[in-house]
């Protein structure tokens, strides 16, 4: 009995570290969405591609809004979204903005989607090429009932032509691994 207690005490720090590691262990991953995969919100939007595949909307276009779904691993895989980032070009007086939204509905009853704004990134100034990123820690465990979307706005009250564009948007996330510390504890040390 005394031997067992001593033995356990000896392994306690290692067990503690192992438990912490396994409980928080996650697999880092990311998806990049090409700006040309964004869909204009209205069918009459006038848009084009400049430079190396940069999406812009033409001056005079009736709309400057675009949308794309974030292709995340399927439910019930759980994720922690860690970063939203955007690249593009901005030599205009207006700015570009990309927002990460979540839309949820009841699973088995008709309901209006409920939007949650998760975070937003964008350009500022007019220095040319830009990069912006937002760090966050947002748990995704609801993809049975929710979808994750990117909304892009090129300009404020209209479009700015090729002077304002987006190249790509990146979403970084960790795939949450289910803790296995208890199994290791029992099999490796208790049994």
């Amino acid at each position: 009995m005394k031997f067992i207690r001593k033995s356990k005490a000896k392994y306690l720090p290692a067990l503690l570290l192992l438990t912490i590691f396994t409980a928080t262990h996650a697999l880092a991953a990311q998806v990049s969405i090409d700006s040309r995969d964004f869909i204009p919100l209205t069918g009459d939007t006038v848009y084009g591609e400049s430079g190396a595949g940069n999406l812009f909307c033409a001056n005079g276009s009736p709309s400057n809004l675009f949308i794309a779904q974030v292709p995340l691993p399927p439910a019930p895989i759980e994720l922690d979204i860690k970063q939203l980032a955007v690249w593009g070009g901005d030599t205009s007086s207006a700015d570009a903005a990309v927002r990460l939204d979540r839309y949820c509905q009841d699973e088995f009853a008709g309901s209006t989607p409920v939007r949650t704004i998760i975070t937003e990134v964008g350009s500022s100034g007019s220095a040319g090429n830009y990069f912006d990123a937002s760090a966050l820690n947002f748990r995704v465990d609801d993809q049975r009932t929710c979808i994750y979307m990117l909304s892009m706005r090129l300009g404020l009250n209209g479009c700015n032509g090729t002077n304002l564009n987006v190249v790509r948007v990146r979403v970084r996330y960790d795939v949450v691994q289910q803790p296995i510390a208890e199994q290791i504890f029992k099999n490796g040390f208790e049994n």
């Binding site: 209205t42 069918g43 779904q69 439910a75 019930p76 088995f108 009853a109 008709g110 209006t112 049975r144």
Partner: protein
Amino acid sequence: MTFKQQKTVRYSMLALCLALSLDALATGDKVRLSNDEIRALGEDPQSGEFFRLSLDQDSVNADQSAPSGGAGVLYTSIAASEFRPRSDRGLFNVPNHASLICQIGGTNSLAEAQLQLPQDATLQFLRIYANDSGVENLNVALVERCQPNTAAGNVTTTVLASVLTSGTPGQLTQSISFPAATTINNTLCIYSMRVQFANTANGCAANLLLDKARVQWIE
């Protein structure tokens, strides 16, 4: 005829009967579409073969009573804004919430989104989230299009499952089961979700909106 010859004939006939019945079973799951049905899908009857799988009407909303989740049960949702109109792009809009509508006045009511699932995934349920406040109805289908593995050939199109709304329920969600053992074959086929914003493929009806479509599958 010797006894041995009689035995051979008997076994041959047995094998023939067995083969015929197996063939009947294999094609019995599929219903060939009429030319009118094919045209209603917006397709050309001359462009290939068209089928649909036999649907059990008891399978409507069966996922509500099915065991929830479980090992290997996965869910993939496609936002309606991801659907590409087959034509008349100018008449399709995303009014809000990543949903999709189609305005009256065009000649096309169809939009499609490709579905990427792993090889051999077994399809379980197709569920849609939509709004039907119109006189006509919304039809969302999962369509399989197959061609020979390494040879040129016409496309064989099969509607694996479809959800058809009815009445004017407003905001709704509705599902249908896939027939048992409906599996993904990425070697021969591509898979698309298809929405039709009217009772026919020609022109859109008013007050129909799709929010998203969800496929439940087993890896």
